[in-house]
């Protein structure tokens, strides 16, 4: 506890008003406060009109991603103490349309998730619920890392390709596709590959790697994309060199 304060410079935007501005707020400084605590202080006791999303405040619901001093971050995981003496600039995630203040439009992101068919595809006719599909810890380990994504969208804000190529499916969704492709229980890889490679965006990824840098869950989507590219190239040449082989 202390009597000091810190200044927040918060991005404000209302679609029914004029263009965006920055508004400054003076909030109490606490050693163990995160940026989200400071935003909540503003909303609760200074200015109730500030809009932002949040829920779990423990880094797993993925709601509270924003730009903090220019870097995409979960505001529930960024401590004020690491940005003292301030001021601390809080903006909505870049690369997304801003709906209001710190709230971005995530519908495009949701459509991209949907695009990669992120669910187990099985050829079985019926679902026998008397026994689980077997999967060894080694098989689990192949895709586990890519299953840790919380859909916080920080990687989309960090990706320069997203900022130029609208149709790019993007880091999180491609990592999710890879998560299911690598799952030993899944039989839908070909279907998913068709979706991924129809899209030229994936080849525009130049392995900037910023998506993996900002990922709070160490999913490494950049790695997932390169692996997907490698497999795509392999499939392409295999098909080119063995035109007589039927695609499975």
């Amino acid at each position: 506890m202390s009597d000091t304060t810190v200044q927040l410079e918060v991005f404000r935007y209302r679609p029914d008003n004029d263009g965006p501005t920055f508004q400054s707020y003076e909030v109490p400084y606490h050693d163990d406060w995160v940026v989200l605590d400071a935003l909540n202080y503003v909303k609760n006791y200074i200015d109730g009109s500030l809009s932002f999303r949040w829920s779990c405040r423990m880094g797993v619901c993925g709601s509270c991603g924003m730009q903090v001093n220019g870097e995409p971050a979960l505001t529930c995981a960024v401590f004020l103490r690491d940005h003292m003496p301030g001021p601390i600039r809080v903006e909505p995630l870049v690369n997304f349309p801003v709906e209001r203040d710190l709230v971005v439009d995530s519908n495009g992101f949701m459509e991209k998730l949907d695009h990669v068919k992120p669910y187990l595809v099985r050829e079985d006719e019926t679902d026998d619920l008397d026994a689980e599909y077997l999967q060894t810890p080694i098989q689990l380990d192949r895709y586990k890392q890519f299953s840790m994504c919380i859909n916080c969208m920080l990687c989309y804000a960090a990706c320069p390709v997203i900022g130029r190529v609208d149709e790019f499916i993007g880091p999180a969704a491609l990592a999710l596709a890879q998560r299911y492709n690598l799952d030993s229980r899944d039989q839908g890889k070909q279907m998913r590959q068709d979706v991924i490679f129809q899209n030229e965006g994936i080849w525009e990824c130049t392995f900037v790697g910023e998506c993996s840098e900002v990922c709070p869950k160490h999913v490494d989507p950049a790695g997932a994309i390169q692996q997907a590219k490698l497999e795509g190239a392999y499939d392409y040449y295999k098909r080119l060199l063995t035109p007589w082989a039927r695609r499975s």
């Binding site: 809009s51 423990m58 619901c61 709601s63 209001r100 599909y133």
Partner: protein, 594 residues
């Protein structure tokens, strides 16, 4: 306002809501489903569940054991017919999740692995490391994307139910993006909005857990059942209230007071074994006792001055160091991440400071075993509902299982019911819609200078902690009820800083707090009227359990004044009430020795 028709409307898209939606599709693929949620589905609080899900699958286990553990854990307040259904349907529901891609932790053989959990005599908790809820929610959500029958209304806040001809027929929902009100019509509505831990100041619950669905049902005349039973989880981080999962104790973690003593041995929870003893941790003993008993033990230690003094109140220590870095990393990696990020402690090297924190609300919307409420057309499932399988105290790892078992049951039952029903139109619906539009418009139009949402919220949570915390008595509860009454009047004077229609989150908060004060009154009055101690409801002025008068569910009905509290008998099938015995006085089956 245009009306959008569906066959089944589901409010809330967490574990229960998503499971219910897919159950409707399975039951009848021709039905159209509207899935309304105030957040994107994967933000729902199911995501924060850590430890695991209970179901009998291993050969050393049996349904009788799971049933007995659940009933004794509930302090005999669970309905036993519901518990039997719950235990019987749990394994198939968990296998269904497995078939939907949930990355369960595995044995080398490829079979699903299980771990011990508090209050369970045999290890039966399936887990995905210590992010079980996260993986379950994402598996459910991602799987649901393939069903075109499900239309999602993401970031729509349901403000009221619509009822006509004695039947629930839909709801009014506010679209956050535009601020517009929409009328969503359906022959069946399933509420899956989660619990209401946010009426307390110190909780593991996310900000969204404001009990909105309970308020919807309560205002539509449905009783709220067993509202006085609030679970304190014994191990939350001081300050933030972030949950440190019970799996940390299931894996062998121990609790220490400021003298380094495993103090639980002093509270009828058995004798401690050395942490390197292969039999440690013992099921249903010591650190694997039930949550209510552990949280109460903390309060006694605190009163005796044997807790540590911290900036955010007193705490004890959760020590997992003896597990070693490898086991901590593979079994409870999230515990390490959370303790490092939010308490600045690396559990590999230091004990974690913990204290009891509000975690789960056993009470909720009164439903039967099909998830049906007494109001035709209205169903509820998950934490917002009270079937009841949890009674006076829920066992850890039963709640995620409850989501899918009763989510699926509610979905199937609603699907069968709508096939037989026609939407009844009528001026009554129009009148309700107009009244709701006026209510929201009036709130938005109030002149500045009224009450602030956050100040009301602070008043509410402070009153609840002071009056209806782990230990309660007549004085504390009466004072709480009086404060809540005042707060109800002040809620009507809330005014907003925010005039924009777009993402007016202050407006949503105002609507939430309105409902929270309502359901908090149901809680406080039910607690005041129950003059006994049972499970999580501990009255210092009535310290004993009183089966003669209170082997009953409390039923709170909304009135213009104080809630009206009635009682309903508990369903007892084969397990007559007995003493809850944990630790060494229980025999190896966990049943009390005679």
């Amino acid at each position: 306002m245009n009306e959008i028709p569906h066959d089944v409307l589901i409010i809330g898209a967490g574990g229960a809501g998503l499971r219910a939606a897919m159950a409707v599709v399975e039951a009848n693929p021709d039905l159209s489903i509207g899935l309304v949620s105030k957040v994107y589905p994967m933000r729902s609080h199911t995501v924060s569940a850590e430890g695991g899900m209970a179901a009998v699958i291993k050969s050393n286990d049996a349904r009788e054991h799971h049933i007995y553990d659940t009933i004794s854990g509930s302090d005999w307040l669970a309905d036993q017919d519901a518990v039997e259904i719950f235990v019987d349907e749990a394994p198939r529901e968990l296998i269904q999740l497995e078939h939907w891609g949930c990355p369960w932790s595995r044995e080398d053989s490829g079979h699903v692995a299980v771990r011990p959990f508090g209050g369970m005599q045999i290890e039966r908790t399936w887990y995905a490391a210590d992010k079980t809820g996260f993986h379950v929610l994402h598996a459910l959500f991602q799987t649901s994307l393939q069903f075109s029958q499900i239309t999602r209304y993401d970031e729509y806040f349901a403000t009221t139910l619509l009822t006509a001809y004695g039947r629930c027929q839909g709801c009014v929902a506010l679209e956050l993006r535009t601020g517009e009100l929409h009328v969503l019509r359906a022959n069946a509505v399933i509420i899956c909005t989660g619990g209401f831990g946010r009426v307390f100041p110190f909780t593991t619950n996310g900000s969204i857990k404001t009990g909105d669905g309970l308020a919807l049902a309560y205002r539509a005349g449905v009783a709220l059942k067993d509202m006085e039973f609030v679970q304190y989880h014994p191990t939350g981080l001081p300050g933030t209230g972030i949950l440190i999962t019970e799996a940390s104790r299931g894996e062998g973690g121990i609790l220490l007071n400021n003298q380094g003593r495993r103090y639980l041995q002093d509270y009828d929870l058995g004798e401690p074994l050395d942490v390197h003893d292969p039999r440690h941790p013992q099921n249903r003993a010591m650190e694997l006792g039930p949550r209510d008993r552990l949280s109460q033990a903390f309060m006694h230690e605190q009163a005796a001055g044997r807790t540590f003094d911290g900036e955010y109140g007193d705490y004890v220590q959760l020590d997992v160091r003896h597990l070693g870095e490898d086991r901590i990393n593979t079994r409870i990696p999230f515990v390490r991440e959370l303790a490092s990020n939010y308490a600045g402690i690396d559990p590999v090297a230091e004990p974690i400071p913990v204290r009891p924190v509000v975690h789960y609300t056993m009470g909720g919307i009164d439903t039967d075993v099909h998830g049906a409420t007494p109001l035709p057309g209205l169903y509820a499932a998950g934490e917002c509902a009270c079937v009841s399988i949890n009674g006076a105290n829920r066992l850890g790892s039963n709640s995620l299982t409850e989501l899918v078992v009763f989510g699926a049951r509610a979905g199937r039952h609603a699907a069968a019911a709508v096939a037989r029903q026609q939407l009844s139109d009528g001026p009554e619906i129009d009148r309700q819609v107009a009244a709701e539009r006026d209510r929201v418009a009036e709130l938005r139009a109030r002149p500045a200078g009224g009450e602030r949402v956050a100040v009301i919220r602070d008043g509410l949570t402070t009153a609840m902690e002071a009056g209806a915390g782990i230990f309660r008595d007549e004085d504390s509860l009466s004072a709480c009820c009086a404060t809540l009454r005042e707060l109800e009047e002040r809620v009507a004077r809330i005014s907003l800083d925010d005039s924009s229609p777009v993402y007016n989150t202050e407006l949503i908060s105002a609507l939430e707090i309105d409902g929270m004060v309502d359901i908090a009154q149901a809680l406080a009055h039910a607690a005041l009227d129950r003059t006994e101690s049972r499970g999580s409801h501990q009255r210092t002025d009535y310290a004993a359990r009183d089966d003669a008068n209170y082997l009953k569910h409390s039923m709170a009905y909304r009135t213009d004044g104080d809630p009206r509290i009635e009682y309903k008998d508990v369903v007892i099938t084969r397990w007559p009430p007995a003493e809850r015995v944990y630790g060494s006085t229980a025999d190896k089956d966990g049943m009390p020795s005679t």
